[in-house]
Every structure is written in structure tokens, then in C-alpha cells.
Amino acid sequence: MDRNAEALTDIELHQLVDGQGNDTDMASLRERLAQDPVAQAKVAAWQAQRELLGGLHRQLLDEPIPVVLTEAVQQVYASQQSLAQWRRRSGMAAALLLSFGAGWLAHQVGTGPTAGTALARAQADFVQQASSAYAVYSPEVRHPVEVAAADQAHLVQWLSKRIGRQLKVPDLSAQGYALVGGRLLPGSAGARAQFMFQNGSGGRITLYLGAVGDPAKEADRQETAFRFAAEGQLASFYWVDQGFGYALTGRIQRDALMALAQAVYPQL
């Protein structure tokens, strides 16, 4: 049967209307279309329709983008940005940062680049271990902690002894979080402790703490500003005070976590 005599199928008509297909196919389709008045009418109608649709709401392409949408885009990037960049945009934590920042800068000046890199790696490891600990223990239903909040006095005494400094459990009840309990964990610079908190809807956050770097080295006994790290949906704020690190981690929005970090910091 002569292929030219075959009626064009709907799919072929769409290909003609939308210009989808390679040049050879298109040429042969156009040839067959020339002999098919019924198909021609259909193609013409669909082509007109396509052009009509192409003009629909065209003005939106030139309109300025609503602020709420550009803000949503910023959120995408916020989760990847360091606090240093974030600080420039937001005055929210400015007062808090000022007190951190002064001490941090003072220490940075006296630290050589090699020591700074090693310490930066130690801090990155620290927050990464905090995230892993969160990922492992926060989904636990039956054994999320080793020692439950009912034994809080014992929990604090035990972990303080193992970590080698007097710990305090922050009170986050004003933020809707209650202590679940805590556990002892291994870390790259010795023992680490994890306190877990939970809110009314079952959302959990953890406060992970322990030495960062080598406490014997003077260069490692410095402090840093609040820093933000995200791994997938897991967000952490962390800071180092006198060589001792804290990481607050949760599967929550950055702003909510920042508010919690601001509540935790003064209590430690």
C-alpha cells in the first residue's frame, strides 16, 4: 500500500502542529498532509488553538516576580549557605552574634592557616557526627535514649562525669519541647553526649555536645560563632566554646531551629 495514501493519524497531526519529529519525518508528513484536506482542516484548527494558548497570560512573563516567591527561592539557598553570608541578610541574631563574633575574630588572628584548617575539619566532623547520631536515634520508638528524663539528676551526673565537665540540660518547655533523655556516644575527640527533646507533635531535636579538636592544644581551645549546616532535611546549628562543641539538630526549618538555639545558648 502506498504510504502517501494512508490517512494521517492523530499522533502525526500533533507532531505537525507542535513541530516535534526529525526533519525527514516532518517533510514526509507535510507531503501526506498536502493530499489530505480533512487533516489539513484539523491541523489548521489545532495550530490556531496552539497560537491562542501561546498568548494566554503572556503578561505574567514580563511582570515583576512577587516578593513572596523570591523569598521562597532564597529559602532554597539558605539551607546551603554559611552563617557568615546569612548574617549579612538578617538582623535577627545580630546581638547574639556580636558577642560570639568578637571572641572568634580575636582567636582567628593568632591562628595559623594549617591549624585553622585542621580545626575547621574537626568542627565539620563534629556537626556531621551530631547529624548521624540524630539520624540513628531520633526515629527510635522504644529506646531513643539510654537514660530517660525521669532520671534527670542521674543522667546529668553520669554524662558530666563521662564527658569531663559539668553539663546542664537546657529547659525548652517555653518552646514546647520536653526532655526525653540522653545517651553517651563515641566521638572523634572522646566521649560525646546527646540529649533528646520532643514536642507535642512528636518532633524531635537533639543537643549533641563534647570536645572538638584536641583540648590540649591551645589553638583548638577557641570559640566560633553560631554556624549552620544542613544535610538533606536535617538542619544543625553548632558552636564551639573553649574547645567544647554544641550542636542542635533537628528535621525542622532553619528559623525555628535558630530560635531554639537562641534559647539553648544562654542556659549552658
Partner: protein
């Protein structure tokens, strides 16, 4: 990949969402939800892959799940107002009026047909990409496109201002 790449996608997403929903507020809500979903799932976007197709996929999934909710609302009798409102807006056949009529007819198409038609005609997407975005086989995409084009043609040709004609027309098309 930087911020301006994502911002550059917003106007297109807004226009598509507007044509899909027929409502400026609902459209921008949908775009915002899409961007927030993109934020939450950012780690799933493979660097170097088609950002636009990924965003349209997110939007499609959000709209499809939202459309199921809307269908329940329609069954509760919420959507009946649409034609009444449009008829109150009868005015000389300006470009705006033509767009309004086109939008009204678009909204009379089933959601899955409207989606395919808009992705192909408005967004000029390849059939394979439409299949990927909507998660349907390409054969289904093509048959939806055929039904959408034939039905929209009939709707646009019909004397649209009289509801009785529309009803008859829709019945005949089944």
C-alpha cells in the same frame, strides 16, 4: 547552578500555574508550594539535570494531589459558581475577553487533559518530557492531547454564553 537559574524559572511557572488553575491567587500559592517543595527536596535534584522539568514535576504532583481535594469540593457543590461569574463579565470581544473565554473553556477540560495540553502548547515541551513529568506512558499523553484539542475546539466554537447549549455540547462529546 545558582539562584538566578531558579528565579529565571518563576515567570514560566507562574504562567503555567495560572492557566492550570484559572486563578491568580491559587496560581501563586501553587508556585510558592512548588518552590518550598524544591527547597525540601533539593538534595534529590541531580546537578546538571533539567531544572525546569524537575520543577514542573514537583508542581504537577502538588497540583494533582490538590486537584483530588478540589474534586471533593466540587462534589460538595462549590464550583458551580464559575460559569455564572464568567457570564456576568460579558463584554465586547476584546483580547482580554478572548483570553477569559479561553481560560473558561480550559477549565472545562478534565484536569489530566488540561495538564497535557498546557505542557505541550504553553510550555512547548516534548511529548517524552510531558510523559515523565506527569508520570504516564507516552501513549496516554498522546490520547489525552487528542481529546483535549478536540474538546477545546468544540468548546471554543460553541455559543458559550448560554449554559443550556454547553450542557448539550458536553453530553454530545461523551
Amino acid at each position: 547552578m545558582n539562584r538566578s537559574d531558579l528565579v529565571a524559572q518563576i515567570p514560566g511557572l507562574r504562567r503555567y500555574a495560572r492557566a492550570l488553575t484559572g486563578d491568580a491567587w491559587a496560581a501563586d500559592d501553587l508556585v510558592q508550594d512548588t518552590l518550598e517543595r524544591a527547597c525540601a527536596k533539593w538534595h534529590l535534584w541531580a546537578v546538571g539535570s533539567d531544572l525546569r522539568a524537575w520543577l514542573f514535576t514537583l508542581m504537577h504532583n502538588l497540583y494533582a494531589s490538590d486537584a483530588r481535594r478540589t474534586i471533593r469540593q466540587q462534589q460538595a457543590g462549590v464550583r458551580v459558581d464559575l460559569n455564572d461569574v464568567t457570564q456576568e463579565l460579558v463584554a465586547p470581544e476584546t483580547a482580554n475577553e478572548l483570553g477569559l473565554d479561553l481560560q473558561r473553556c480550559l477549565l472545562m477540560l478534565p484536569e489530566d487533559q488540561r495538564t497535557v495540553l498546557l505542557l505541550v502548547s504553553l510550555e512547548d515541551m516534548r511529548y517524552e518530557d510531558v510523559a515523565r513529568i506527569t508520570g504516564t506512558p507516552i501513549g496516554t499523553v498522546m490520547s489525552r492531547l487528542s481529546r483535549a484539542r478536540s474538546r477545546l475546539q468544540a468548546l471554543l466554537a460553541a455559543p458559550s454564553r448560554t449554559p443550556s447549549t454547553q450542557t448539550t455540547l458536553l453530553r454530545r462529546l461523551k
